[in-house]
């Protein structure tokens, strides 16, 4: 985390919509990052969440690990310039 965090990087949540089967675990694990639509499929609430929001990042990592279809990928983005 170190360097990116201190400089104020952010992270993005990618969901592979083909793999996703709507188990809903991600919403349970990271309710502030991911909501679900009326059919039970995840909707990523905000992209480019700052890594300073440690709670959101931890939750997203839990969702990544907790997805039964391994459809979630959390990607760190270094700050631009």
């Amino acid at each position: 985390m170190g360097v990116i965090n201190r400089r104020g990087g952010s992270f993005v949540i990618h969901i592979d919509p083909i793999l996703c089967d709507g188990y809903g675990h991600c919403h349970e694990l990271a309710p502030e990052d991911i909501t679900i639509d009326e059919w039970g499929y995840p909707v990523v609430v905000a992209q480019n969440i700052p890594l300073k929001n440690h709670q959101a990042y931890e939750a997203a990592k839990y969702a990544e690990r907790g997805c039964p279809r391994q459809a979630i990928r959390v990607e760190k983005i270094a700050p631009t310039a």
Binding site: H14, D16, P17, C20, W39, Y41, V43
Partner: protein, 420 residues
């Protein structure tokens, strides 16, 4: 051939496709050109709908060192309103094959795969005959016939079919996406794009740019359907006004709306009839050229009913891989159906339709749902008077007429539709 003369692409022999000898006479190699430089100077954009610059694609594939390359010609054309690739292939197949050969030489490929939808027999026959006349010792040509579905012509779905015989679009996490067939790098280009490359490699970029506008050079094949005498495929210079195209197609010149860019495109109002048909002018009014489709919706039709039929068909054509598309599109279709045909107030349905459109947008692996959302959004805007009346339960009555203008194929068994 003169530089600013139409048709450039749609030329045929008497009552049949051009043979190779006739093709070589009509399109002579004028001088020694470097095809890659000419392609760069020509500014040709892909004619399959996305309008990506062809040279940049070629350059991207050329940079994939250490891989064998395969050239794929996409002549699938799953849009029911589009006939341009099939027409071009059945009139002038050698032009497409020659362009594919030029592109294959540029990227260093030794294999060309021509993909034609399984059901279009005439196109397959034209290609089979043309491939029989070719004698090329360096490049092997093969013809593949994937099943004809709307999503089957999408780039990743086509590549997936060539790999494993399933016409399913794929999720592409990395951009730019480099398609692979086995371990070989593939370049997929639309048939009309190949035809244009052939012309550029034979006559040069300056010749090619003598038609069209500086930003969108060249000519474009346009399929005009709807309120026309009969559906036609025209070759127009980019930058022609829509009114000229419609009058050349003998279409209704006082329409209610025009659908541009096919089933994933946008409706535009008739006051935009004098807008030039090129990328810059159309994007200024929020429309896209798409794969060159114009559907004329006359005043006697109900725009909402036409939209509903299209959306219903598109929902059924979904590959049903991604939840938002598999469940969302049927829901949108049902909302639209209620809005169009219900004689009670359906204001809440309209709200729900808009809300659902916002949620579904951008959440599929391919752009199939996004196209439907774009179509619905433009329909709600262009037919806003109708929408207001219909949502209060005052239907216009035209929605029950038997004739329809968007040529949506009949669903084979409407009761067996999978609504999941």
């Amino acid at each position: 051939m003169k530089p600013n003369e139409l048709p450039r692409l749609l030329r045929s022999g008497p009552q049949r496709a051009l043979t190779q000898r006739e093709f070589e006479e009509l399109y002579p190699r004028t001088k020694t050109l470097s095809p890659l430089d000419e392609l760069k100077a020509s500014g040709l954009t892909g004619r399959g709908g996305a309008a990506f610059e062809t040279f940049r694609k070629v350059d991207l594939i050329r940079q994939q060192h250490g891989h064998r390359k395969v050239m794929v010609v996409n002549c699938m054309e799953g849009e029911p309103a589009s006939h341009k690739d099939k027409t071009l292939a059945s009139l002038n197949p050698h032009l497409i094959l020659d362009g594919a050969r030029a592109l294959a030489t540029m990227i260093g490929a030794h294999r060309v795969i021509v993909c034609v939808e399984r059901d279009s027999k005439r196109t397959i026959n034209a290609f089979t005959a043309a491939l029989g006349e070719l004698n090329d010792s360096h490049i092997t040509f093969e013809l593949q016939t994937p099943p004809g579905r709307y999503v089957a012509g999408e780039e990743s779905a086509l590549i997936h079919w060539l790999n494993s015989f399933e016409s399913l679009p794929q999720y592409r996490a990395k951009r730019p996406y480099i398609p692979h067939i086995g371990r070989h790098v593939a370049m997929v280009d639309n048939a009309e794009t190949c035809a244009n490359v052939s012309i550029i490699s034979r006559f040069g970029a300056g010749w090619f740019r003598s038609l069209g506008t500086p930003q969108s050079p060249g000519s474009q094949l346009v399929s005009v359907t709807g309120a026309v005498e009969r559906p036609v495929v025209l070759e127009v210079s980019l930058g022609t006004t829509l009114r000229d195209i419609l009058s050349a197609a003998h279409a209704d010149l006082d329409p209610q709306a025009i659908l541009l860019g096919g089933y994933g495109g946008t409706f535009i109002k008739p006051e935009h009839l004098d807008v030039a048909y090129d990328h810059a002018s159309l994007s200024a009014i929020g429309a896209t050229l798409g794969p060159g489709i114009i559907v004329v919706i006359p005043k006697s039709a109900c725009g909402l009913a036409e939209t509903q039929r299209i959306v219903k068909w598109m929902a059924n054509e979904s590959a049903r891989q991604c939840g938002p598309c598999a469940f969302g599109l049927p829901a949108l279709s049902q909302d639209l159906h209620e809005l169009t045909y219900s004689t009670r107030s359906s204001a809440t349905t309209l709200l729900r339709l808009k809300e659902r459109s916002g949620i579904i947008n951008g959440r599929g692996a391919c752009k199939h749902p996004d196209g439907v959302i774009r179509l619905i959004a433009s329909a709600l805007e262009v037919f806003s008077n109708d929408v207001a009346a219909h949502s209060k339960g005052r239907t216009c009555g035209n929605e029950r007429r038997a004739e329809h203008y968007a040529t949506v194929p009949r669903l084979e068994n409407e009761k067996d539709l999978v609504w999941e």
